[in-house]
Amino acid sequence: MTPLLKVEGLSKFYGQRIGCSNISFDLYAGEVMGIVGESGSGKSTLLNCLAGHLTPDTGAVRFDTRTDGLRDTVTMSEPERRMLSRTDWAFVHQHPRDGLRMNVSAGGNVGERLMAVGSRHYGQIREAATDWLGRVEINEDRIDDRPTAFSGGMQQRLQIARNLVTGPRLVFMDEPTGGLDVSVQARLLDLLRGLVREMGLSAIIVTHDLAVVRLLADRLMVMKDGHVVETGLTDQVLDDPQHAYSQLLVSSVLQV
């Protein structure tokens, strides 16, 4: 079986400093992979390289494209990469304002990706937006409100709806529960878990919160100082960590 994403020897440096180094892994369709590690371990750098927001210094990121099979997204043309970004990929930012248009209504935010791929029927766009607001538990009477009028948790749910409305084949998430209160986090996690199951999402989720990956991820990659120190099934890594750093991480000695 062809993996959905095949990462080989990926490295990114910021001058002399390591962002992430020599990362390789495969992700198969329907899998959710968690990337954990303390702050500064290179999780976001890696994710942004995978999603085409950063250009890695070495390595390949091969994505199973609909038409041509595995293609290296690092070397493909920018138009092709941007096309993937608005069709097959989705990116959920830690801060909703980085992933939303704050001066556009909730409905417009959800509808944008549909319009970007050619939807030209207002009624249908509106219907899809209404449906998706419901799925992320935002009351449909908020459809014409701007996200500025929403709480942090609602904004994050709106960002998720906006990303999932076109049924992306691969979702990148960077600390999706990061900036939220604990009680709000729990609700969002529940919602994400429901969506992942229901849609059979393939996703890569970066987080420093082990509760997030415990609930959402099939597999884990533990990062430290830009390197992957351990990989495995989520339960395996969390319940029986092999690497000394993973053991520290799991035993909550490292509270990040």
Binding site: E112, M115, A116, Y122, D144
Partner: protein
């Protein structure tokens, strides 16, 4: 009087502007950057249009300037005088007689011909600016034809107002490629953008020129279930009786009395000269306006 080069600008500057115009004509709807010059008038007066006019005028031209359809506003009169002085060209108020027409906010009602050039004064050339403030990003969106955002704007319109409320500067797609802001003309004028004359758009402060060659396909953006409509006031001109012209609404007294009148003054007075009279028909020659 100070000695100017013909049409004020020096020949080198005019050549630079002409190159931008030719590039604009070669890539219809594409915004060509150009090094806008200081003109002896404020930006709001259409220095972009003035520079384009200066670059295209030749001594044999007959020049007309309209502002909201009228030849007699301060802005129109000043620009007309400017080229009368600096280029010594003939000027006219008659659309048919003009070879170069500079306009702000209107397209003349009378169909233009292949022998004419229509020059627009443009305040904001970038149709994507409303939702995407970054110039780098908007240029990229144009080059990659990422125009979903234009429909987000129309979507917002419908969700707020129940219809596409954008009445001016209504965005269009040119030859199936570039999305273009037709400048703040009423959307009533949009269908006229497909015409026989050359159209050139100049934005002075923003330093952009773009153009439509004759008979270029220009399609107003819309939704399948909210199709574009070139709407105007549902009324005939009270002065000349025209039913198919764009109308201004005037308050004529303090009792709420209203009058609808062609915004294209040359069109209206031509009709009156031909004997047409509207509902509040003021016979030709008896009004002071």
């Amino acid at each position: 009087m100070t000695e100017y080069n013909f049409a004020y600008l020096d020949e080198q500057t005019k050549r630079m502007i002409r190159r931008a115009i030719l590039k604009g004509l070669a890539i219809p709807g594409y915004q060509v950057p150009f090094a806008s010059r200081e003109m002896p008038m404020p930006y709001g007066w259409g220095t972009g249009g003035v520079q384009v006019s200066a670059a295209v005028l030749i001594p044999d031209d007959t020049f007309k300037v309209i502002d909201q359809g009228a030849d007699d506003t301060t802005n129109a009169v000043s620009i007309r005088r400017f080229f009368e002085k600096t280029a010594g060209v003939a000027v006219t108020e008659a659309t048919r007689q003009a070879t170069v027409i500079q306009t702000r906010h209107r397209i003349p009602e009378e169909a233009l011909t292949e022998n004419q050039i229509l020059v627009y004064q443009v305040p904001i050339p970038e149709p994507l600016r409303f939702l995407e403030p970054s110039e780098v990003e908007t240029r990229k969106m144009h080059s990659l034809e990422e125009y979903g955002l234009m429909h987000v704007k129309l979507y917002e319109d419908i969700s707020k107002h129940g219809a596409i409320a954008t009445a001016y500067a209504y965005p269009v797609k040119v030859e199936g490629r570039y999305v273009m802001d037709p400048s703040p003309i009423p959307k009533f004028d949009n269908p006229k953008l497909e015409m026989a004359a050359i159209q050139i758009f100049g934005a002075g402060r923003e330093q952009r020129i773009y153009a439509l060659p004759p008979y270029t396909q220009v399609v107003s953006l819309d939704f399948d279930d909210y199709p574009f409509e070139a709407s105007k006031a549902d009324h005939a001109c009270d002065v000349c009786g025209a039913e198919d012209s764009y109308l201004d609404e005037l308050i004529v007294d303090d009792k709420g009395g209203r009058l609808f009148m062609c915004s294209d003054t040359d069109f209206c007075s031509s009709r009156r000269r031909e004997g047409h009279v509207g509902a509040q028909g003021i016979p030709y020659g008896e009004d002071a306006a």
